[in-house]
Structures are given as structure tokens and as C-alpha cells.
Symmetry: D2
Subunit: 143 residues, 4 copies
């Protein structure tokens, strides 16, 4: 699969993101995942903020991160994101955080369930499902 199948967004490591080891604190990579999927959804035409304004949320049911290398303050890392699974209620994102110099830093995935404002599981709305399916097709998962 070509590199183009990933959505990419850049994040500069904040001083706040580092810990006493001089590198990004492991839990903060889940914030970078958040930014990756938010920017992917924005590019799909469904900003997550608008999605929540419509009364929906994609609550996280699982998160996984494998740490390969790490970087320090002021590094400009790239978060690569794609949708890897789409069910009636659930959607899964995969992430790779890479650095020009150190290569792959962190890989991982998150699984989300769609809920409404009463915290009840909901089918992913058809407009969003359609665009997510197209994105999955582009990424070659349904071929």
C-alpha cells in the first residue's frame, strides 16, 4: 500500500509534553493519536467538533501503543492515521508516529463506539459511514 493511503498531520513536541527522561511522556502519544484522527475526520468533511455538536460521540473502548523510539522537545513529528475497521457502531483507527531522523516512533490503534447524548450506543450516522467506507476503500481494506 502506498504511503498516500495515510492521512498525515504534523505536531511539534511541546516542552510540556516531555518528561524527566527528556522525551515525550508515553501517555502523551495518545493525545497525538487524538490529533491524528481529528485531522483525518476534518479532511473527510466531518470535523469531530461538529459531530459532537450534532449530539454524537466516538468514545474510546480500547487504545494500544507500541513504542519503538522516542524524541525530545521541539521535534516536528508526523502522525499518520487511517481507518482500519468499520462496524455498525464501532470504528477503529490505526496510527504511526514518525520522525525524519529516528523513523517510526510509535504505532498503535484505537477502537471507538458511537454513542448519543444519552450515552446509548448508536449506529454511526449514514453520511459519516459513507465517507468512512470510501476512505477504507482507498486504503485497500475492502478490496
Amino acid at each position: 500500500m502506498s504511503e498516500n493511503d495515510w492521512h498525515e498531520t504534523k505536531i511539534r513536541v511541546r516542552y510540556k509534553d516531555t518528561d524527566r527522561m527528556g522525551v515525550v511522556y508515553y501517555g502523551n502519544y495518545l493525545t497525538y493519536f487524538e490529533i491524528g484522527r481529528a485531522e483525518l475526520m476534518r479532511d473527510l468533511g466531518f470535523p469531530y467538533s461538529a459531530f459532537e455538536s450534532d449530539g454524537y460521540s466516538l468514545v474510546v473502548t480500547e487504545a494500544n501503543a507500541k513504542y519503538h523510539s522516542n524524541v525530545g522537545y521541539d521535534t516536528l513529528v508526523t502522525v499518520r492515521t487511517k481507518i482500519i475497521d468499520l462496524r455498525l457502531v464501532r470504528v477503529s483507527f490505526k496510527y504511526e508516529i514518525v520522525d525524519e531522523q529516528y523513523g517510526l516512533l510509535v504505532s498503535g490503534y484505537t477502537v471507538h463506539a458511537c454513542i448519543n447524548s444519552n450515552s446509548k450506543p448508536m449506529r454511526i450516522p449514514p453520511e459519516l459511514r459513507k465517507i468512512m467506507e470510501e476512505n477504507l476503500l482507498c486504503a485497500g481494506f475492502y478490496e
Copy 2:
């Protein structure tokens, strides 16, 4: 004024709280302030969580911190908190964060305005005002 006029609570520095300098990130002391005033309110019989459940909030209108020294991971610091001003709508807290070995680390204050669930300024509810006034009297501010 005796040391006893301060409410005291202990916080252990988390790895997450440190930055690449090996000490607590400056913005995280505002979280320690938050814990100081939350525990003071709990001891006054008005847990902040219950206060919010009643439809009120004490939004921060100003925060100030002076940094005298700093400590690293796993240090057990003490947050000393007291009420230093009480108006119809506003209340101010003063803080000292101290360490057994290094003495005074951070001193500061926060100013808060009471608002209701529609974000409108509200008089501080009389039950809370009464207990806060007594606390101020104990601390010798109105004498």
C-alpha cells in the same frame, strides 16, 4: 500568623508532572493549586464537586505564581492554602507549595468568580459564604 492557619494537603510529584529539566513543569503547579483549594473546600464541608452539582462554579479570573525553587519526580510536596479575600461574587485563595528539603517552592494566588449554570455571575451562596468568612476570621484577616 501561625502555620495552623493554612490548610495543608500532600501531593506526590508524578513522572507525568515533570519536564525535560527534570522538575515540575511550571504550568502544573496550577493543578497543585487546584488540589489545594479543592481539599480546603472539602474540609470546610463544601466539596467543590458538590458545589458544581448544585449548579454553581468558581471560574478562575486570575492566577499568579512565583517560582522560588523546584523539585523532581516522586517528591512529596505540601500545598498550603487559605482564603485571603471574600466579596459578594469573588473569592481569592493564596497558596504556598513547600518541600521539606528545599523549603518554599512556589507561592501564588487565584481569584474566582461565582457563576451559575448559565455562566451568569452569582452571589456566593450564603451557606458557603458563612463558612468561608469563619475561615477568614480564623486566618486573622478580618481582625
Copy 3:
């Protein structure tokens, strides 16, 4: 296995830990995991801060969290931690974060590699290995 095989520590949810959903932000549970394993190591007689002072670190190579339920500000949650795997260089911890009212909130694990101050993989020091093995035996993994 009895409940007693877990090390337990209490954490009160900070306002800072919550997000706009009114509950703990998913990445912050990795901070709670950090506190769980730090307190376990302290109780084993090997505070992680002393371990690092000796020139070692346990860098995270993988983290996993499954989110079952969630809680909001001021909740006093319990982090249950135990060692579930011990290799020459690696050690794995398992976690359960539970709430009296809502039961199991988050379960997960982290895998760590021991490195020295030059970031080279190191065998876990024998004194620590010995005490970790005993802890594993208590938990019934090697039986």
C-alpha cells in the same frame, strides 16, 4: 486468585484530568497506570525514583488499555497493579482501575525494557529481579 494478589492504590480524579465529556480523558489513565506501578515498586522496597538514581530506567515498549466505563471529577478510584511477566530485560505490569459505584473502569497492561543511562538494554538488576519473582510467585503465575 484472591483479590489480595493485587497491589492497590487510590487516586482522586483531578479537575485537570477530566475533559469536555465530563469524565477522565482516555490518555490520562496511562498516568494512573504509572502511579499504580510506582506504588507497587515502592511497596516492594524499590521506589522507581531510587531505581533511576542508580542509573536504570524501565522504558515503556507497549501500553494497552480497555475502557469499560468512566467516571468524573473528584471520584476516588482504585488502581490495582500486579507483575504478570518477567524476562531477562523485560517486565510487564497489569492494571485494573475500579470504582466502588461503577465497577471496572479500565483494564490494561504495560511492557517495559530495562535500560542503563546510555539507553542500552540491561538485565534487570538481581536484587530487583529477586523481589519481583517473589511477587510473581505470590500472584501464582509461576506455580
Copy 4:
């Protein structure tokens, strides 16, 4: 003084930055200040990361924030930063965080002391002092 005397940088509010009030947690604005001064220094030709690589740090000795309004998730705020005071060892930055819709959100300042790698106070290096002085002159403070 014209608006152009401020350095400006954009920050998008992360989900992680919000709290249960649905807006940015008050302590997180100090992280936004950090980004403001880091980007100002980068534009002056002295990235803070390079400054630290040279063995210097600008430790914070005071931070102040006044909160005028607040915004929620996904808002694209602007951090306006300028140098407002320059001494032998100390430098002060002033900040305004503004939003297109809500106007001024937070104003504040930070005071920093230059130290070397042994935590000893140091004169600000002449190359940096020179460029900071020029920036101050541009901002009209020394006229």
C-alpha cells in the same frame, strides 16, 4: 502601538486541553504561553531548543494570567507574544490569547532568569540579548 509589534502563532484547542466545564483548563494556558514564546524565539533566530543545547535555560520565576473569556474544543486561538522587559539576567514576555469570535481570552506575562547547566544565574548571551533588544525597540519600549 500597532498590532504588528506582537508575534503571533496559532494553536488549535485539543480535546485533552479541555476540562469538564467544556473549555480550556486554566493551567493549560501556561502551555499556550510556552508555545508563544518558543515561536517568538524561533522567529528571532534563537530556537529555545538550540538555546538549551548550548547549555542555557530560561527558568520561569513568575507567571501571571488574567482570564477574560474562554473557548472550547477545536477552537483555533491566536497567541500574541512580545518581550516587555530585558535585564542582565532576566527577560519578561507578555501574552494575549485571542479568539476571532470571543476576542481577548487570556492576558498575562512570564518572567524568566537565564541559568547555565549548573543552575547558576548567567547573563543572557550577547547574541540573544542583541536580537531581543532590537525586538524591544521594534515594540517601542525603549523609545
